[in-house]
């Protein structure tokens, strides 16, 4: 346990030192989207004002997904591709599973902080804008943010141990991109009833559950997925990615 806490401490220290960079990379996207879709387009009457309320929790979920995935995936890829800094961790008195679990824990904190920073930033940008009905319920939000963080970080572990670094650009274009577009970030799950049975395909996307969880926590007035389904989805994806990611981490690191 001492070793795990020491590893986590190291990761948080390094993240704190890189905080300005992390903030920039985490905030740029949601801020720009809020500006265009929450400010410009509604003024031009190209987008319904309610869209802002729908979009905000989705953007929060996207920032968490990106922060969690990138926080684990990027260092892991360079590590496995040659820098092998991970070997020092594997040689510390901790199990291989422990090393992987610590990566998920650090990524979770990373993702959760990204979500918690994005929300007030977006609220500030939309301050006084009509049609943005944001009422965060913190007690509900914090556990859901933590759970969403685990899903994101564990997905980062899974992807980072399966994808060669030279395909990392492709990964974002082909995997992360579609996840963002088809993850109920810009439309609530409830509205997908219009698509008929096709809507169930969206349940294969972890972001769907994250977006709906944030909807439940931040914009209670917008309809959201039933809570049991939502929790089941987050838990199932969290468990699946943790198990798959940890296994492949073991395979990639211990030859």
């Amino acid at each position: 346990m001492t070793t795990l806490m020491a590893l986590l401490r190291r990761d948080l220290l390094v993240a704190a030192r890189n905080a300005p960079l992390l903030l920039m990379s985490g905030l740029t996207q949601p801020v720009l989207v809020v500006l265009v879709f929450g400010n410009v387009l509604p003024r031009l009457h190209l987008v319904a004002p309610e869209f802002r309320t729908v979009m905000l929790p989705g953007l929060m979920a996207i920032s968490m997904l990106m922060a969690g995935v990138q926080g684990v995936l990027m260092p892991l890829m360079t590590d496995l591709a040659g820098s092998r800094e991970v070997d020092e961790r594997l040689l510390a008195p901790v199990t291989v599973f422990g090393v992987a679990a610590e990566k998920v824990a650090a990524g979770t904190i990373h993702a959760a902080l990204a979500g918690l920073v994005t929300l007030p930033a977006m609220m500030l940008l939309m301050h006084g804008v009509i049609g943005a009905e944001v009422h965060p319920r913190w007690a509900v939000m914090l556990p859901l943010v933590a759970l969403s963080g685990v899903v994101s970080a564990a997905l980062g572990l899974t992807l980072g141990t399966h994808v060669q670094p030279r395909f990392s650009g492709l990964l974002f274009a082909v995997v992360i991109g579609p996840l963002m577009l088809f993850g109920c970030a810009y439309y609530p799950w409830a509205s997908l009833i219009a698509l008929g049975p096709v809507r169930y395909a969206f349940l294969l996307n972890p972001l769907t559950f994250m977006s709906e969880a944030m909807r439940l926590a931040v914009t209670p007035d917008v309809p959201h997925m039933p809570v049991p389904l939502l929790l089941a989805g987050l838990l199932a994806f969290g468990a699946l990615f943790t198990i798959v990611g940890t296994r492949s981490f073991d395979k990639r690191t211990i030859l």
């Binding site: 001492t2 070793t3 020491a6 590893l7 401490r9 190291r10 390094v14 030192r17 040659g82 820098s83 092998r84 800094e85 070997d87 020092e88 961790r89 594997l90 040689l91 510390a92 008195p93 901790v94 199990t95 690191t253 211990i254 030859l255």
Partner: protein
Amino acid sequence: MTAILSVQDLIKTYPGTRKSPPVEAVRGISFEVEAGEFFGLLGPNGAGKSTTLGCITTLVRPTSGRIVVDGVDVVRDPMAVKRRIAVVPQARNLDRDLTVREVLTFHGRYFGLPRAEREARADRLLHELQVAEKAGAKPLTLSGGMQQRLMIARALMHDPKVLLLDEPTTGLDPQARRLLWDTLRGLHRRGLTLILTTHYMEEADRLCERLAIIDHGRILTIDTPAALKRTLPGGQILDVWVRGKTPVAPRLGALPGVLRVEKVERAEDEEGGERLRLFVDPGDGLLDRVLQTVRAEGADLRHVSLTAPSLEDVYIHLTGKELRE
């Protein structure tokens, strides 16, 4: 004397993929290292040295065989083994996001050292390994030799019983190499057990008390460098390079004073001819007799040299090849 490391019948086969067949990296290796010994694994790249080291350090899973470090089985209790050993890996893997000093203190944290102890130890090791002036710098800004010394300092932070070094001097300039050798000798004098892999004959000869020469995943021989050199027939080595129409090896081998003739293969040899290594007992007129024999065959003697045997000669004698780079 007790063995601090025992490797028995170690086999490691890396599973194949669709595109590549399985690789038998280690094919049955056994050896023991005594506490306080400076032991070397000498062999060309791809001989199985690093895989053997990986199995000892828990980073490679043995296919079969048994490894015991200080009474602890590596496969059964890797955590206990990791507390007893330290590794200086072949690739420089210093934590690039920390400072030089933090590399040491965080390593101490990973091993649960109390604050006062890890701070004191970090300061001591920074000085001992001559990296103190760079304590606040990032590791990647250090020279290769300094990074190597920092990796040794990091390894010593948790006070291991056995220090394993995987080709520690590869890529270092001669000066940095010598400094590293002095450091390793100092650690050995203090009683630390050192296990080193290298493909540099000189390094193995100068540092190691005992050596295993390893090739194609098997140990060819284990002994002290001096004893290994004594296994060569005769007291001296006469290398000759002859170009002629008929091979002269049989005639030379029949000369009195010549105990053995070996053909030396050289991959880069484009000029042809016969390169021979004669293990000789140099007595009166031996060189004359060799010269006369070559002339009598109508061949051209291109090169001749008489040397005391080195580890490299032992290696060539054992494998019939010059060390593959």
